[in-house]
């Protein structure tokens, strides 16, 4: 629940130990390696240099190969197993096992080669199909395509446009000479195809005659035998290619059982990349290397123990105040506050000298969410679904935090839903009403008059006003907590006067307004506390110069305070609004569901009821989860953080083992 103190690490070691030392650091996962502040272009540093990037390039290449292979596999093989498949667990040694990594790379290469073969086969297939299409118009012609003339006979394969009049051309050719034979072959969308055999002497005249119809010579060079023979041959070749394509696809798909191994190798490659990237930030001399980075104060001892086995020199120091903007931020959390990290990081991490908001935000966040979502049924469903996800796939990172947050929010919604009388809105009342049964007696959820069971503590449908007032009071509480944090931060930095005047005056004013409303503590008819608070506001003038500046500072502070604080508190009315909207829409679905069934036999009415009920409430749950999440987060960001938050921290990114597809088991 705090921001972890960081220390600047400087480490010098032997180059021969470099790889094993980096592996050790990755295993420990407690050092962020960054660039040392050395100007390598300075001649003084001529003896040192950056390590070569060959290892990084190789690791990236392997990672690309594995990634590509997995993509190819996903295209050709189908995999069973739903979304809720747990990640396999393995030890660190298994992850880094060189033999299985080699094997994985070989399989990946085979898959990628297969895909390449498939590409060339597909290209071949396309080529054959083009040839087949080119031959198609000549199919009816029972003449070998290599037919050529001799000294007396001319053979011309020709085309004219599709819209030209073939019979008119035929007449024109016959008119040009008797010594001709014109055979029609076929037509496609653009052209008509024909064969002309004529005497050499009249070739010119025939061509002249045909040119008027748009004649041009067709290219059938390279073919031997009739078109039909060639077509059959192409068909055979196409069949062979199609067969090969099917075989190759099958071959690729046969690697499907290796998918998990490939994913493991991809995870392994990612670790190699991380380590090589860290290495690229070091500087080397001939036989030593130098590393700078950040290590969290609590981990320093473990680091020292681990380094004791190496020939190296190292020291740490606390960062100077001027360095704070560059110090990475790590939040120390417990089980309850860790899920809030996703909300904090979505806004921005706190500055290194700021305050970790997770612990402060946790009770408010869970309560606000529960209050807006308030429904016993909805809350239980949300908690159950997210708990199932957490149990089955143990999600990591931001999504995992969100899932764990939603478990807490679901439970809170269920409890608040029970106390405010919501179970799928007014399901119990509508459902029993449809069946003409007496209204059930359930504490909080359905309490008919005179039944003696406790009624809902707050009923947003019947008494929205009390809920609104309650929302604003809760909002005031959160804002006062935020101001208290600001007060503490100012005192911590030694600015007690600022704390009292900037924050304290408003507290006095809030108390004064409350006392005035209750008509308590008035002296001589004046609300003394309120007046004291107003006088304290004059302290806002302390920083400004000149009379005009001081007046402007006070007026500005009053204006900002009034619009700011009161606007902020009013914004908490959304607690009531969201609660009401969820209930109203849920109730309308219940009424719609009960409407067709009220006149029917229960055997028909009940199924109809539940169909509409299911559709409507799933929609309402989906909509409300998103809406409530956004509005709860907004109240933290805009109303709560505004009071005290210093953002702008840079997240701490240690060199560590960070896997996507597998979980690493801790070694005993």
């Amino acid at each position: 629940m705090a921001i972890v103190k960081m220390k600047r690490l400087r480490l010098m070691g032997m180059r021969s130990d470099r790889e094993s030392l980096l592996q050790l650091l990755q295993k420990l996962g407690c050092v962020e390696v960054d660039e040392p502040a050395i100007d390598l272009s300075d001649p003084q540093w001529a003896a040192v240099a950056k390590p070569d990037g060959g290892g990084l390039a190789a690791a990236r290449e392997q990672s690309n190969l594995l990634d590509q292979a997995l993509n190819v596999l996903a295209k050709h093989a189908s995999f069973k197993g739903g979304l809720l498949r747990p990640r396999p667990r393995l030890s660190r040694r298994e992850l880094f096992d060189q033999d299985s990594y080699r094997q994985g790379l070989d399989i990946a290469q085979a898959i990628v080669d297969g895909e390449r073969g498939l590409a060339s086969l597909t290209a071949e297939q396309g080529k054959l199909q083009t040839q087949k299409a080119a031959l198609a118009p000549w199919l009816p012609l029972d003449v070998p395509l290599e037919l050529s003339g001799d000294e007396n006979i001319a053979v011309i394969f020709g085309t004219i446009p599709a819209r030209a009049d073939y019979s008119a051309m035929e007449a024109a050719v016959t008119q040009a000479s008797e010594l001709t034979n014109l055979t029609y072959a076929g037509a496609d969308r653009d052209l008509q195809y024909f064969l002309l055999i004529c005497h050499k002497d009249v070739e010119q005249a025939c061509c002249e005659a045909m040119r008027e119809f748009g004649f041009s010579r067709a290219n059938v060079r390279g073919w031997t035998g009739t078109a039909a023979d060639n077509d059959r041959m192409l068909d055979n070749q196409l069949a062979v290619v199609a067969d090969k394509i099917a075989q190759t696809k099958e071959h690729i798909a046969s690697y499907a059982p290796h998918r998990d191994a490939l994913r493991r190798c991809l995870d392994r490659a990612a670790q190699d990349i991380a380590r090589e990237e860290a290495k690229s930030r070091l500087v080397d001399s001939e036989c030593a290397f130098y590393l700078e980075g950040w290590v969290p104060d609590p981990d320093e001892k473990a680091l020292g123990e681990a380094l004791s086995g190496f020939t190296c020199a190292w020291d740490t120091r606390a960062p100077e105040r001027e360095e704070y903007p560059t110090v990475p931020v790590k939040l120390k959390s417990n089980v309850l506050t860790e899920p809030l990290t996703t909300i904090t990081t979505m806004y921005s991490l706190p500055a290194y000298d700021g305050v970790d908001p997770n612990g402060l935000m946790m009770p408010f966040y869970v309560f606000f969410f529960g209050f807006m979502f308030a429904d016993l049924g909805y809350g239980l469903i949300l908690a159950a679904v997210t708990a199932l996800i957490q149990w089955r796939i143990r999600p990591k990172g931001g999504f995992g935090q969100l899932v764990r947050l939603m478990i807490m929010c679901g439970i809170s919604s269920a409890v608040i839903g029970l106390l405010t009388g919501g179970f799928f809105s007014d399901f119990l009342v509508q459902f029993t009403g449809m069946l003409d049964l007496p209204t059930p007696v359930v504490p909080f959820l359905s309490a008919p008059e005179g039944s003696g069971v406790p009624t809902p503590l707050l009923n947003v449908m019947e008494d929205p006003m009390s809920v609104l007032v309650f929302s604003l009071v809760v909002g005031l509480v959160q804002i006062v907590v935020g101001m208290a944090v600001k007060f503490w931060m100012l005192c911590r930095d030694g600015k007690v006067l600022d704390a009292v005047l900037d924050v304290g005056s408003w507290w006095v004013i809030f108390v004064g307004i409350a006392l005035m409303a209750l008509k308590v503590g008035n002296v001589g008819g004046y609300p003394v506390v309120l007046l004291v608070g107003c006088v304290m506001l004059l302290g806002q003038a302390r920083g400004a110069k000149g009379i005009g500046g001081k007046v402007a500072a006070v007026v500005g502070a009053v204006y900002n305070g009034v619009t700011g604080y009161f606007g902020d508190i009013l914004s908490y009315s959304r607690l009531m609004v969201m609660m009401l909207a969820g209930s109203v829409i849920g109730q309308v679905f219940n009424i719609l569901a009960a409407m067709p069934g009220s006149g029917l036999h229960p055997a028909l009415g009940i199924p109809i009821f539940f169909i509409i009920f299911l559709l409507g409430h799933s929609f309402n749950i989906g909509l409300n989860v998103i809406g409530t999440y956004v509005h709860t987060s907004r109240l933290q960001y805009l109303e709560f953080f505004k009071q005290f938050y210093q953002e702008g921290g840079r997240p701490w990114r240690p060199l560590e083992i960070n896997t996507k597809y597998v979980d690493i088991e801790e070694e005993k």
Binding site: P464, V577, L580, V584, I585, V588, M595, V630
Partner: protein, 164 residues
């Protein structure tokens, strides 16, 4: 029948129905335009990258809620008018006008917020295209507009339920 008799007989239900019709109708128009805008943008992206379908669809659905809110208010107005228990004919002119007025926030809020939200959703499709991992931020931007539809729903609800 004199004009005043005619009005006293039919004007109450007429104004009530007019209110319900506006709330449901205009809010549905807003949603239709909103989902339409988002859908066009989504289809553009899907032609390039079909794997983003679920994200595009969620963005498209978000401006669809105004139509639902309008339906809820229209439905509550009809219920309050007594359509379902057969007493709608006795609705007075004054109460009919109250229903009409109560439906207006939902009608206008639903119409305009639906269109505005659709534009945000359409722009958020760009986030899906360029940074698919950050698309939830686009969703958050859309939900900010949603709040004003919810406020319209709320004030219409309060006026209908507690108006008379």
């Amino acid at each position: 029948m004199s004009i005043s008799e005619f009005l006293s007989m039919y004007a109450g239900p007429f104004f009530g129905f007019l209110g319900a019709a506006l709330a449901a109708g205009l809010a549905c128009v807003g949603s239709a335009k909103g989902t339409g805008l988002a859908g066009e943008a989504g289809a553009g992206l899907l032609s390039e990258d079909p794997s983003q379908f679920s994200k595009c669809m969620i963005l498209q659905v978000i401006p669809g809620t105004q139509g639902l809110y309008g339906l809820v208010i229209g439905f509550l107005a009809l219920m309050k008018m007594g359509l379902f228990d057969g007493t709608v004919a006795q609705l007075s002119v004054a109460n009919g006008l109250l229903i009409l007025a109560a439906c207006l926030p939902m009608a206008l809020g639903g119409l305009l917020s639906g269109i505005a939200q659709g534009r945000v959703a359409a722009a958020s499709v760009n986030i899906v295209a360029k940074n698919p991992n950050d698309w939830s931020k686009g969703m958050v931007l859309c939900i900010i507009v949603e709040f004003y539809a919810i406020l319209s729903l709320l004030i219409s609800f309060l006026m209908i339920m507690f108006g008379f």
